[in-house]
């Protein structure tokens, strides 16, 4: 590839293939390009898959995401220089949501960090992983080792019957004294063995349901996916339902609801700035983020519930009278609520639940109300 290529030529680069590619096709998936990979967008249909996950258990292939290991002398301080979380207080076997920030406090990515005892395990978004790795390499001190687990796949098993289904596979803790799978609570993690094969399991996900994310070697993932889908509660679920599920759960999607122009406070992700870090600062972007925490922000990410059935999508203008007061960053029809919902950034003065606003959709005004998120209650195993 030469740098003379224009964007059209870049788009023409063949998407990469993930370890489960043939597995998805065999099960009738419709494949699309996403984050540079061929990914399953749906199998039997988005609404059916969405509902199945809310009622049973859905298996998602999220192997496009970046899995990283960070280790070395002083790794906690090194992570804390780049992320606003309290990683000194994150115990082994615990996971935390965090944000990779730039100097101006803009969000480079959102990610999950797990303390695995001898290293930290970090999962980043697929579309941003190469930039994230570049950013981390640039900013982490030389004595910190960053390893990209690019031969590992990542599965998510989500839904109220996920624990029952995964429980039947007989995973054993990799070390004595570790909690059993059934004893893991939301945002806890550990190494397990399945039939001798190593798995990194965390009780977390992106749907608002109870469930697990399972890091697995590429050569083992098809067997694991088969074993999971052999359980009567489990069906494979595509990216389409993953998006409608996370939207109902009020979880932002990077590249849509978050980007380098948004700061964590406007994005309503202040919980990711740990208490100690608020008083001490010392992370990239701290100056802006702490100022916004103290002074407030001009805009805020909110949830909107729409009247009628027509959806408002990314880019739609949020209006009050003739004034534009915000913009939709993601939106669609909620299969669980049977009505359209959206996330938008609106003027902070209009961010209170109950505020009536309009959304301009193709020249038509749709009535909407600011509502608290999640739209559909979380059902995490706490």
């Amino acid at each position: 590839m030469s740098e003379d290529y224009d964007n059209d030529d870049l788009d023409a680069v063949d998407p990469l293939v993930l370890p489960l590619d043939a597995w998805h096709r065999t099960r009738g998936a419709r494949m699309v390009e996403f984050a540079g990979y061929q990914m399953p967008v749906q199998y039997e249909g988005i609404i059916a898959e969405h509902t199945w996950t809310r009622e049973n258990a859905g298996l998602f292939d999220v192997s496009h995401m970046g899995q990283l290991e960070v280790s070395g002398e002083g790794v906690v301080a090194a992570l804390e220089a780049l992320l606003p979380g309290d990683f000194a207080a994150l115990k082994p076997g615990r996971q935390r949501y965090s944000l990779l920030l730039n100097e101006a406090g803009g969000v480079i990515d959102d990610l999950m960090v797990t303390n695995r005892g001898d290293h930290f395990y970090v999962v980043v978004n697929g579309a941003t992983k190469w930039d994230d790795i570049g950013h981390l390499r640039e900013h982490l001190p030389d004595e910190i080792t960053l390893t990209h687990l690019d031969e590992h796949a990542l599965l998510a098993l989500q839904g109220p019957k996920a624990a029952e289904a995964l429980g039947r596979l007989g995973l054993v803790p990799a070390f004595d004294g570790m909690p059993a799978l059934a004893d893991l609570k939301f945002m806890q993690a550990g190494p397990f063995l399945w039939d001798g094969r190593p798995l990194g399991v965390s009780r977390s996900g992106y749907t608002g349901e109870d469930g697990f994310e399972i890091s697995v070697r590429g050569e083992d993932v098809a067997a694991l996916a088969d074993a999971l889908c052999a359980q009567p509660e489990v069906k494979p679920i595509g990216l389409g339902a993953r998006d409608s599920l996370r939207l109902e759960a009020g979880l932002p999607l990077y590249g849509h609801d978050l980007n380098e122009e948004t700061d964590p406070i406007s994005a309503d992700l202040g919980f990711a700035i740990s208490k100690r870090r608020r008083s001490e600062g010392g992370f990239l972007g701290a100056e802006t983020v702490l100022a916004r925490l103290a002074e407030g922000t001009s805009a805020r990410r909110v949830g909107l519930a729409l009247e009628g059935r027509q959806a408002a999508r990314e880019g739609a203008q949020v209006m009050q009278g003739d004034q534009q007061v915000g913009q939709v960053t993601s939106g669609g029809f909620s299969p669980s609520l049977q009505r359209p919902i959206a996330m938008a950034y609106v003027d902070a003065a209009l961010a209170a639940p109950g505020t009536a606003l309009d959304i301009d959709v193709r020249g038509k005004r749709l009535s909407a109300t600011v509502v608290p998120m999640p739209f559909v209650p979380h059902r995490y195993h706490r």
């Binding site: 967008v41 749906q42 249909g45 988005i46 609404i47 059916a48 969405h50 389409g240 409608s244 009628g308 059935r309 027509q310 959806a311 999508r313 669609g332 029809f333 299969p335 359209p340 193709r362 038509k364």
Partner: protein, 123 residues
Amino acid sequence: MSRYFSKDHEWIDVDGDTGTVGITDYAQGQLGDITFVELPAVGQAVKKGESVSVVDSVKAASDVYTPVSGEVTDANPALADAPELVNADAETGGWLFRIKLADAGELGDLMDEAAYKDYVDGL
């Protein structure tokens, strides 16, 4: 009655000077679960190729282009409460609107069923 197809995946059944328009089964399959259909107003004058309706699926909103010019005489009332009818029954009960043709000569630009099938097979 004759049925014609457009490259934009609309079908039109023509009976005298009245046409009934919908999207094809292929189109509904591509769109996935349909959650809302915005229909043209009865009495609206429309030009061939103009976007006159919007079909919203869980994934995206898609324009529906009228395959002929004329005046809209009817819109499918069943779709307000049951837009999923377009998925279940795209080429019969899931019709979108009826139109009084302004120029039957425009039908010559459309495909018959066999030509449309070849067209879809080539996509």
